[in-house]
């Protein structure tokens, strides 16, 4: 059974069909890329998958359940986590607290037990702290645990956002342009991080990216989106040599 399946997915803003007849399938522990020219609807697809937008047509099945009637919160709890194109951290909270927000559902001590400082509160907080620290360690952020998230350098903010997304213990991680604004060295580092994440957490990853070196380097399969529809789907080599894709990016020789 596939992990994620989108069938004929579409959304219309007024007269504009931002995404139309989007068909896509992903299995567990796969690493796919989603590319396409600007305005092709890549981020819109992410917003549809995470419930930020409600599709006007089509169906999304995740782990055997339809996501159509679910709120973003429910979808996240079901196992889809994401990062954002323009980093959206909780800037005034500390780095570790950002991760702890993601870990919210890992513990279930009640409000009353925290007011009365019952053992369950301390146990829950202790466990949360340990989990958050071990996540930060994966991303080399443990020494910044008490720094305000907004004060981190850009590359580390990107990493923290991935850490926060992973804290929700997802089965599928959506990365929206994780390498945007990074220099080549940081991008290199990020590629390594993504590989580590995938192996360590054994999750599926779908990423939007403009950095072709990164996409071609780590993705198993790539979907190319143009004007809201899937133009091509295949391995990096197939995509590289696909005339339709080249035309979409560079224009036709006519």
């Amino acid at each position: 059974m596939s992990l994620l399946k989108a069938e004929g997915l579409g959304i219309q803003f007024g007269g504009l069909k931002a995404v139309d007849e989007f068909n896509f399938e992903m299995n567990q522990n796969q690493l796919y890329g989603l590319i396409g020219p600007n305005g092709a609807g890549k981020t819109t697809v992410f917003n549809l998958l995470t419930g930020v937008y409600k599709p006007t047509s089509g169906q999304i099945i995740f782990n055997g359940k339809s996501l159509l009637k679910m709120t973003p919160t429910q979808i996240t709890q079901l196992g889809i986590a994401r990062t954002f194109q323009n980093i959206r951290l909780f800037k005034k909270m500390s780095v570790i607290d950002n991760v702890k927000v993601g870990l919210h559902h890992s513990q279930n001590y009640s409000l009353l037990s925290s007011i009365l400082h019952l053992p369950s509160y301390f146990k829950g907080e202790e466990a949360m702290h340990e989990m958050a620290m071990s996540l930060l360690r994966v991303f080399d952020l443990e020494k910044y645990a008490d720094v305000k998230a907004g004060n981190l350098p850009y590359g580390k903010q990107r990493k923290l956002e991935i850490a926060r997304a992973l804290a929700t213990s997802p089965k599928l991680l959506l990365l929206d342009e994780p390498a945007a604004g990074m220099n080549p060295i940081e991008t290199e580092e990020l590629m390594e991080t993504i590989k580590i994440v995938r192996e360590k957490f054994s999750i599926a990853i779908l990423l939007i990216e403009h950095d072709m070196k990164l996409v071609m380097g780590i993705c198993e399969k790539i979907a190319v989106l143009n004007f809201g529809t899937v133009l091509a789907f295949g391995t990096p080599d197939e995509i590289k040599n696909n005339p339709d894709v080249i035309a979409a990016y560079l224009g036709n020789e006519e």
Partner: protein, 314 residues
């Protein structure tokens, strides 16, 4: 982490105990007279109001102008409970607080979909609705005011302990996973939702806790004043509480406490300039906003204190 938290709590409790002991000593020694003990009681009530509003406006980030409305629900409910049902004071206080909490939830469910100015205006409208209802009900005795419900054996301790409990509970809420969820909503609601936080639930939870303690403050206020008129709980009262919160710093519990105390005591000293009091509030508020907006705070701080700033290197 656990030890440090417990240590902090114990220190805070000892500090509260020392302050309490000091005030009680001064009262029994006659240094703090009847007039001043009244002001101290009002300070306790205002501390409850400011810290509870801080949860909704500071931590949750929803600017509301209806806090006096919840206060009046608590005040009238507890007063009516002791007047007609002859319930003991603490029980009627609790019932008043629960009533305020329920009204808070009732108002919160439809209004918390709104943000910013819109929420501000709609909560303001609810405040007025509650006031007008109190004015027109026969059971509340309308504009003539409600009287004769005072319990005799309530002294300063009750007000002080209530304030300490309020601060403690709000502190605990903020320091728990629930508090982090509430703060994350303030920071970025979409990101919070997509981190798996049930945002509507936590918004209403914060609002309900906030209203609950406003109800407590109202019940205490009724007890202290011995008479309730609806006009006390008008728009000005809500603004006054909000000013305390903003002055003390949104999302700053200590700040709210200090601001509430200062803003209770200061007007007493400024009685000679009573006409200009509101003018002063405005000036102080504008100054606070400029300092915050232009981020002059750190610069002023570094001018007066030599403090180290934490820099993060890559």
């Amino acid at each position: 982490m656990k030890k440090k938290q417990i240590k902090d709590l114990i220190i805070s409790f000892i500090a509260a105990l020392v302050i309490y002991g000091l005030i009680m000593f001064l009262m029994s020694a006659g240094v703090v007279d009847y007039y001043w003990s009244g002001i101290l009681i009002m300070a306790c009530i205002n501390v409850i109001l400011a810290t509870s509003l801080n949860l909704a406006s500071g931590y949750l980030g929803q600017l509301t102008l209806g806090h006096a409305g919840f206060m009046s629900v608590g005040a009238y409910t507890s007063a009516l409970c002791s007047l007609y049902l002859h319930l003991p004071f603490l029980l009627s206080l609790l019932i008043g607080a629960i009533a305020a909490c329920l009204i808070g939830i009732l108002i919160g469910i439809p209004t918390l979909r709104l943000k910013g100015d819109y929420l501000c205006i709609i909560t303001l409208a609810f405040n007025e609705i509650i006031r007008v209802i109190m004015l027109n009900l026969s059971i509340t005795n309308g504009a003539k005011g409600l009287m004769g419900f005072q319990a005799m054996n309530i002294d300063f301790s009750v007000y002080f302990i209530s304030a300490v409990i309020t601060i403690y509970v709000i502190y605990c809420v903020v320091k728990s996973r629930h508090g982090r969820a509430i703060i994350s909503i303030c920071e970025d609601e979409t990101a919070s939702e997509l981190s798996g936080i049930p945002t509507s639930y936590y918004k209403i939870l914060a609002f309900a806790i906030s209203a609950f303690f406003a109800g407590v403050a109202g019940g205490l206020y009724a007890q202290y004043m011995g008479m309730l008129v609806p006009s006390t709980f008008d728009y000005n009262k809500s603004v006054e509480i909000l000013v305390m919160v903003v002055l003390g710093g949104l999302g700053n519990l200590k700040g709210s406490i200090i601001a509430a105390i200062v803003m209770t005591i200061l007007p007493e000293y400024l009685r000679a300039f009573a006409d200009y009091r509101m003018l002063l509030y405005a000036v102080v508020l504008i100054a606070a906003m400029i300092i915050k907006e232009k981020n002059l705070g750190p610069r002023i701080k570094s001018k007066f204190f030599k403090n180290k700033t934490v820099e993060v290197d890559d």
